[in-house]
Amino acid sequence: MDRRDFLAASVAALFSGSLCAQPSGYRRLLVLIELKGGNDGLNTVVPHADDAYYRLRPRIGVRRDDVLQLDGRTGLHPALKPLLALWQVRELAIVQGVGYPGPNLSHFRSIEIWDTASKSDEYLAEGWVARAFAGHPVPAQFAADAIAVGGNDMGPLAGSGTRAIALSDPAAFLRQARLANPLGKAHNSALNHILKVEADIARAASQLHGGMQFSTEFPRGPFGNAVRVAAQLAANPAGVAAIRLSLGGFDTHQNQPNVHQRLLGELAEGIAALKSALLEANRWDSTLVMTYAEFGRRPQENNSNGTDHGTAAAHFIAGGRVRGGLYGEAPRLGELEGGNLRHAVDFRSLYATALERWWGVSSAGVLKGRFAPLDVLRA
């Protein structure tokens, strides 16, 4: 090894962490995937041994023969086949029955509750990730605190103190960022805020140049593209603590089976591609992937071959340090409340897991209460 190679290797090691101890704190990346519209948890993680399931869903239920069985009671929708590989190496945790007390069935209100980690009857202005960053700042040298890929709302990243960037395509972002005008003096808080956002854009743009090239093949379509962007951002040495992706179209009131099949396929292929790319970038062990949605769907199918807004649902947690398996509680279809599932795990417990166990940030202040973290991570 000559001197130049040695230097290059040291620099690479410094950034990739391969020669250092496990990355900690915000060097650990949180990837949130929003399933917009409310994903049907029951047809995603199927209680295939429960006759009540097939009674409630005579037309759209996933047939027992088609289910990818995980155990005698629980299985995955066949479109989720790409996730089986993660399940088998025990890097996929499935949390069943995630919801909250006093569920709200409006898309807008319920996603606001999830985004802000509020109580059902409480209005909070800032996203839960933003609140975490406000109390425990992300290192200033990071390119950004958080990045929302695709979509134009900031969701859980929204907050006045957060350096959060939204972009769909890094190249387009870099082109547009030339319009940022961060210099100048602020004489009031409105202008101060605008100048801060301008500076955030300029800073992120200055560090996000040059995307890593992967040999991983990403699925076609907007979600596959978003996954590629997320992998590029994760691979960038400048650092980012959280990335939010979203996959839309889960509001399956009509003709659910075809639509849902396609969406779950996109989701599973996307997560599988993300793992493959992050392994290339040596970041899979320092990444935690978590899905969320405003609600699950009504157990009883409707008359249009679909499902209406519901309450609790299953969600996925994946990553190189995840302790795979089933968590939460299988749906109790015999004990519905107003036709909907009771929740078994408060969604804020998932957030507490990310905050405490992943980032090492205390969660009680951020979540305005104590929510027990799940034991889904390996030491």
Partner: protein
């Protein structure tokens, strides 16, 4: 240098106070109460006293939109008929409603861009953000249109009348679930929001008040045959109720009157008007006086605005450029300020959605939070890109006329083609716009910016104008 020009223009009116308020004050009043401040208007208003200028704005406001409404706004489809439709028919119906929703947004956008009374549209938008209803839930563009006409009719009228009218407005009844509010099984949605968001504000009532009020509103419903308000006595709970310590066999109207009798209502609405027109943080003593005037006038909205626009805070230098323009204010204001002509409003409707203010589709019953929440990296870059491109419409038009481009246009889907065509049809003449400023170049930054620029815009002619518009201060009003 620029700061110096600003100082001179701002200080000049002091000498001429006897005749009028001067250009800087005129600019401030016009921009804050409207969308823009054009040179000829600024110069005209500069000659008036502050009080006379406010009177002129108030006198010219209110009434009906002058942009012709879409032809279908009086149509109504009985929901029972809807249930009989087969899947294909239903799909076509839903698609038509979506098209109409876009058309309706375009209609309002066009009205805002064309109106002779920007204050009327600003207040209509203010009430839309106060008495929110969304196409996403109401799903009937015709009902949303009727609500908009109602809000405009009362925009500068009487708040009590507006509250009563909007409470039985069909779009509002749908939006806040009147259909499921019936005797024996009340739905508290409307009762809660009417107290929390429309009148008293949070913390000024108890859960019991909401439960009892919900019972008073039972029976308020819509006639499925006509889409009009219908009172159904059989669904009404005629029992004894107590709301805010007033007891009796209360009807919905009685509850609204009880809410109007509370001092908190005038204070709550006045504070919201303050944040819309004056500054992010109300000054308590002055706000109290505005609320008192509002209440004493029997909720006359003009009286409240007159009092608000006479406060020291409204005119204070420290509050100039202290508010962030909403997407509507930025986009409509820019088109009006630069006299940019357009035909099809579709690109602007989509732009407003991308910038976070999808009119007729507020995010939830609380409306758009506004203020600093308008600006994040995406929306700020979206704003800047719009401002960058709007001055290049000439280049765009020329580019679109190239044969290769025309061919490419033919391959686009109809929606995308319509969008591109609308962009190509935009009209802006830099020369016409600059002509009135000849010999008065110092007025350019005064007209365009609410305060001295944050950066140091430089250049000549239109380059200088574009640099001013790209300055962060252009985002402020």
């Amino acid at each position: 240098m620029l700061r110096l020009i600003f100082a001179v223009v701002v200080l000049l009116p002091g000498a001429a106070a006897a005749q009028g308020m001067g250009a800087a004050d005129a600019r401030h009043l016009l921009n804050r109460t409207g969308f823009d401040a054009r040179l000829e208007q600024v110069e005209e208003f500069a000659k008036l006293s502050r009080g006379a200028a406010v009177e002129r704005l108030l006198a010219g406001a209110g009434g009906v939109a002058r942009t012709p409404a879409p032809g279908w706004v009086k149509e109504w489809t009985d929901p029972r008929r809807l249930r009989q439709m087969d899947a294909e028919e239903r799909k076509l119906f839903v698609r038509e409603q979506i098209e109409r929703g876009l058309e309706l947004k375009g209609w309002w956008f066009s009205e805002m861009a064309a109106t002779a009374s920007p204050l009327t549209e600003r207040m209509t938008l203010f009430w839309h953000n106060h008495f929110t209803s969304s196409l996403q839930k109401v799903r009937s563009p015709a009902l949303i249109y009727r609500q908009n006409a109602l809000l405009r009719k009362h925009a500068l009228g009487n708040f009590g009348e507006l509250l009563h009218a909007v409470s039985r407005d069909p779009a509002m009844l749908v939006y806040l679930d009147a259909a499921t509010n019936r005797r024996g099984e009340p739905n508290e949605n409307f009762a809660r929001e009417v107290m929390e968001l429309f009148t008293l504000g949070e913390g000024k009532y108890g859960e019991r008040d909401i439960r009892e009020a919900a019972r008073a509103f039972t029976g308020w419903s819509i006639d499925p045959a006509s889409g009009e308000y219908l009172y159904r006595p059989l669904l009404h709970d005629g029992g004894e109720k107590t709301v805010l310590a007033r007891s009796g066999n209360l009807r919905g109207e009685d509850v609204l009157d009880i809410l109007l009798a509370q001092p908190a209502t005038a204070e709550f609405v006045a504070a919201k008007l303050w944040r819309e027109f004056v500054s992010p943080q109300p000054a308590p003593a002055e706000l109290g006086r505005v609320a008192a005037v509002f209440r004493a006038s029997g909720y006359d909205i003009r009286s409240a605005l007159r009092a608000l626009l006479a406060t020291e805070s409204f005119w204070a230098q420290g509050n100039r450029a202290a508010l962030i323009k909403s997407p509507v204010e930025l986009v409509v204001g820019t088109l009006r300020q630069f006299d940019i002509g357009f035909g099809d409003p579709l690109p602007f409707v989509l732009l407003l959605r991308a910038l976070g203010q999808d009119i007729f589709s507020p995010p939830n019953v609380k409306g758009w939070p506004g203020g600093e929440a308008w600006i994040n990296s995406t929306t700020l870059l979206g704003r800047k890109q719009f401002l960058d491109r709007i001055f290049r419409v000439e280049e765009t038009r020329i580019a679109m006329q190239r044969p290769a481009m025309r061919e490419k246009l033919e391959t686009l889907k109809p929606g995308a083609r319509r969008f591109m065509q609308a962009v190509a049809d935009l009209q802006f003449s830099a020369r016409d716009w600059q002509r009135p400023f000849e010999g008065r170049e110092a007025m350019v930054p005064v007209v365009l910016l609410a305060a001295a620029p944050a950066g140091s815009p430089s250049g000549e002619g239109m380059d200088y104008v574009r640099a001013l518009v790209a300055d962060p201060v252009y985002q402020l009003k």
